[in-house]
């Protein structure tokens, strides 16, 4: 019974925590600019992150190591600093976008300018990290994030053309605006396959003391939770494809996001988008801040643990404090969260192999996983999707910059 409850909770939190500013805005941009044609990028991204999350949980449950832990041990400090600095740099931009997402939701709710919210949002996030336990952060905010199901309700009520939607699952070449098409595709992939997500997941599994009895639960949480999460991204794309695409409206301002639900649900739709954006981005802010602090603390062998009092892991606590402050600066100086999202998601896609390749080597190391190493399918899926994403990103980012 306890296991069933854990599986259900894991699935619910995966669904509630799936959407964040990256997945919402990139899916909306994909639908608005290209109708259903880019559904395949959400499907590819979701399949890849489901595999990565399953691997990450399996790795922690069997080896009792987190990914950063094992990366330092297996490859040494001279290698470890490369993914460390790249992931830190890219994820800080993503964190700035998430924190900006919460501030943007508050701006739309109160009409008080976005930069004004930078310090209160950073304080709220830091206060939760400082005082709340791991399960409050992992489960509490994600359960509130179930409000994002509103996007699926809205999409169903618009009666989409399911045949055309299914056609979008098959990748096709762009019919127009090729460089923008590929840029949006890699942004969607970057938003779905966020390295912080599977790094965070392995630390969470250690925080919750998983062992091999959790392997089946882990597989179900990764498969079902991530699939439903992917459906929510598709729902956002559908809304934009029906409401924006026919009128040639591109999504280039976060203020357009409430228009995804207001035509269907009226004033309630506006508040549902605000709540979805605010809660989803707050959840992501907490997870990314912790993931980055885990990355540093575990690699350097510090004391770490969200369930410890800050005085018992002073370096770890001060690290996430500095990370939140650094991300807050992006919002405080007035950077547009949407622009920051676009850049950071594309850079995430470009840097995917840096985090994924060493992780795959670990997942095939019998010293850590004994009989639970990866199969050919898992290796191939993750390797191919992350390589495609990185190549597309490296090609499309300069083209998008030149084009714009």
């Amino acid at each position: 019974m306890k296991k069933i409850f854990q599986i259900a909770l894991g699935i619910v939190t995966s669904v509630g925590g799936f959407l964040e500013i990256g997945s919402i805005t990139t899916a909306a941009q994909a639908g608005a600019s290209f109708g259903y044609q880019l559904v395949w990028s959400i499907v590819l991204g979701t399949v890849c992150i489901a595999f990565l999350v399953e691997m990450s949980g399996r790795f922690a449950a069997v080896s009792k190591h987190t990914i950063p832990d094992a990366m330092r041990e297996r490859f040494g400090i001279n290698f470890y600093v490369v993914p460390l600095f790249i992931l830190l740099g890219v994820s800080l931009l993503v964190l700035g976008a998430e924190l900006g997402g919460v501030a943007a939701a508050l701006e739309m709710a109160t009409e008080i300018a976005l930069p004004v919210w930078a310090i209160p949002v950073a304080l709220l996030s830091w206060g939760l990290l400082w005082r709340a336990s791991f399960s409050v952060i992992e489960n509490g905010v994600s359960i509130l994030g179930l409000v994002t199901i509103a996007f699926a309700v809205g999409a169903v009520r618009l009666h989409p053309d399911y045949g055309a939607l299914l056609h979008g699952v098959v990748p096709t070449l762009p019919r127009r605006d090729a460089s923008h098409y590929w840029f949006v595709a890699v942004s969607v992939l970057g938003a779905s396959i966020s390295p912080y997500l599977y790094y965070f997941y392995s630390s969470g599994a250690i925080e919750e003391k998983w062992d091999e009895t959790y392997l089946a639960a882990n597989r179900m949480i990764a498969a079902i939770g991530m699939s439903f999460g992917g459906f929510l991204s598709v729902a956002v794309l559908v809304l934009a494809a029906i409401l924006f695409h026919p009128h040639n409206i591109d999504v280039d301002k976060y203020q357009q996001l409430p228009d995804l639900l207001t035509p269907i649900l009226g004033r309630a739709g506006f508040w549902l988008v605000i709540a979805s954006l605010g809660i989803a981005c707050l959840g992501a802010t907490l997870e990314i801040s912790l993931a980055l602090a885990y990355l540093i603390a575990q690699g350097l062998g510090w004391n770490w643990g969200e369930d410890l009092e800050p005085r018992d892991d002073a370096r770890f606590s001060l690290t996430y404090t500095l990370i939140v402050v650094a991300a807050m600066l992006f919002v405080l100086i007035g950077l547009d969260p949407l622009k920051l999202t676009e850049i950071s998601m594309a850079l995430t896609a470009a840097s995917l192999p840096v985090g994924v390749f060493p992780f795959l080597i670990l997942m095939n190391d019998k010293k850590y996983l004994q009989t639970h190493t990866n199969g050919y399918l898992g290796n191939a899926v993750v390797l191919v999707i992350s390589l495609i994403s990185a190549v597309l990103a490296i090609v499309s980012i300069p083209l998008e910059i030149v084009g714009s």
Partner: protein, 118 residues
Amino acid sequence: MHLVADVLDEELLDKTGNRAGRVDGIVLEVRDGKPPRITHVEVSPITLLARLNRRLAERYARWDRRLGKGRGVPFRIPWGQLEQTGKAWRFDTDAEDTPIRALEDWLRVKIVERIPGG
């Protein structure tokens, strides 16, 4: 045993079982006509930084020296005090009695305990 694969960068646990850093360096004694012998392992940001950039390590050591007597040099654990448990290495001292957590303690006293809820 492979020193780089099985010792270097592995986790250290103190005698209470708490995390006590990682093996940042290995000290070998070179002997005439005999194979080299491990004498100590080092646990210190100075050793870690020296593996990346010697200048950074020297700078950190200068700052660390200001924190008290005996500081500014890497902390060494005699090889004979280490015992392998799983992939980690355990040593027979409480980390609180060593400089391993000096920075952690300094940050706790100077900053964390002064913040509400710390």
